[in-house]
Amino acid sequence: MNPVWTIARLTFREAIRRRVVAAALVMGILFLLIYALGFSLIQKEVSTSAELSGGVLELREMRNFLLLAGLYVVNFLTVMMTVLTSVDTLSGEVATGTIHSLLAKPVRRWEVVVGKWLGFAGMLTLYLLLMAGGVMATVYVLSGFIAANALQGLSMMWLNILLLLSVSLWGGTRFSTLTNGVLVFGLYGIAFVAGWIEQIGSIFNNQAAINIGIVSSLLLPSEALWKGAAAAMESALVRASGFSPFSSSPTATPSPLMIGYAVLYTAFMLWLAVRYFQARDV
């Protein structure tokens, strides 16, 4: 059996049987239940007022808005899951010595890193499908609404997971678990707040604010990916208004170049993780 596949399977099995995943599942189901309840309550209210005013647009906008609100939370939760589950996999196994019996086998270092990456990617993809799929299915079942470009939006949320996974694996080859976690969340926080500065700045056409956003997106293009996902799935009306907490304004929408950059960034960080891990004494 291929060592990459062996490590990937081991990592996947280990990841899904950890308590953090069980907790995430329980919280995820609770989230979906509350989301469904909230959605149907609000829909009822808006339907009544829409019937009075005869506005169909109002209902559609409400559904789109609530869908994005749900996915916004899902995006945040998947980011948390990605970092929390993968942050200690290399540094932790080096610290405990678990890695010794693995690396003393006829296995190359890159096979361990790539195997781990694939294992976590598998588990996190399932989690994303469950959560984002759950939100989309809830909205569809309760209202028959499907967002435009849902698949495109989902793929960008997926890319966001892979991106952060690569960064956290790279950090694990260099730093202790705690340092790595602080680092990845720190980067994510910077990108997050800078995304907001960029969006608000773009409303006022403030170039300096927009540049802060762009530079931070280059540092870690995670928030840019969410903006891209939101831009794909939001309604034209919200898009034109330029301001919603769960979406992206036309000027703050990442260009295809930024998406390409995120793909390269993901691959580069994984490559860097392999390089660092190859040089590491364990």
Partner: protein, 310 residues
């Protein structure tokens, strides 16, 4: 692909050195371990024993020097297909059952599943864990973990087996098992590289030993050679003529004499029966004749010095 050459030594290193920042863990390691030989690597704590094994296995990159394992340069992952390793502090995926755990390690060796399926029950039986095949490692005692670790190191029928302090944490039964397994490996022609500070263990099991300090081999040789040298013989004999005492000096020096008790210092083992016969021929009634061989431990302390405690 089989890189392992039949004639190449199991391990061969020249001037291997490892620094961790300012700290020199291994200063200048040159040694050769032949295939099929049981080799004891002895030294006080901090002598660089584990770091040396890690360099052989490619876990740690040497700062300088060179080495070969089964004919392949150190760090070549392919050579590790024929190597087994029991780390000192063995930590693993304790959520796996004993069978799942061994399957994982067989997979990492690239063994076909059909072979693995036949091998695992055999190995579990060998290390005395047959009844625990389906139990999770989490429920295992320290001694049981050491046994499953041993099974993991043997699963690929290695040509070279590294055991890093294999008997620490084992009860007497477990220690006996390790000793028996080492003997079996010798019969199979597997080289065993044994890191240990339990010198009596090493004395019983090893063909050759190296004494190391600060990652440098101070002395290397066969166990019998190591314990060779002058050794005392305590004798208690009555009616020994004074002339006989002088006559003894052709084989030994008299270190101490007090009435019927005296202590000789003898250079050669082969002289013992000769001395004994001589005493009887001279009319002495021999009540006691105790050659006191230097143990490996005493030799070790002579070479390494007592300041570096075990």
């Amino acid at each position: 692909m089989n890189l392992v050459s039949a004639s190449a030594p199991a391990i061969e290193t020249r001037g291997l050195r490892k620094e961790f920042g300012q700290k020199v863990a291994v200063s200048d390691l040159s040694l050769t371990v032949q295939q099929g030989e049981i080799f004891g690597f002895l030294g006080p704590n901090g002598a660089g024993k584990t770091t040396s094994i890690k360099m052989f296995l490619g876990l740690v990159t040497p700062t300088s020097g060179e080495g070969f394992m089964l004919g392949a340069p150190l760090g070549d992952y392919r050579a590790r297909a024929r190597v087994g390793f029991l780390p000192e502090h063995f930590r693993f995926h304790d959520w796996l059952t004993a069978t799942e755990f061994l399957t994982l390690h067989a997979d990492l060796y690239g063994m076909p599943r059909a072979v693995t399926r036949a091998r695992i029950p055999e190995l579990l039986e060998r290390v005395g864990l047959a009844a625990h095949a389906r139990n999770k490692l989490r429920t295992f005692s320290k001694g049981m973990l050491q046994r499953i670790g041993l099974a993991q190191a043997l699963i690929n029928d290695p040509a070279l087996l590294f055991l890093d302090e294999p008997t620490s944490g084992l009860d007497p039964g477990g220690r006996l098992l390790v000793r028996d397994i080492i003997r079996e490996q010798r019969e199979r022609g597997t080289a065993v590289f044994l890191n240990s500070h339990l010198l009596s263990e090493v004395e019983i099991t090893c063909d050759r030993v190296a004494f190391v300090r600060h990652g440098e081999v101070l002395q290397v040789g066969a166990v019998e050679e190591m314990v060779e040298g002058e050794f005392p013989v305590q004798v208690r004999a009555r009616n020994l003529p004074q002339s006989a005492l002088v006559g003894l000096e052709q084989w030994a020096t008299i270190v101490h004499a007090n009435g019927e008790q005296f202590t000789l210092s003898v250079g050669r083992e082969a002289d013992l029966p000769v001395i004994n016969r001589y005493l009887v021929e001279q009319g002495a009634e021999v009540y006691a004749f105790h050659p006191q061989h230097l143990t490996l431990e005493e030799r070790f302390l002579q070479v390494i010095g007592t300041e570096a405690g075990l």
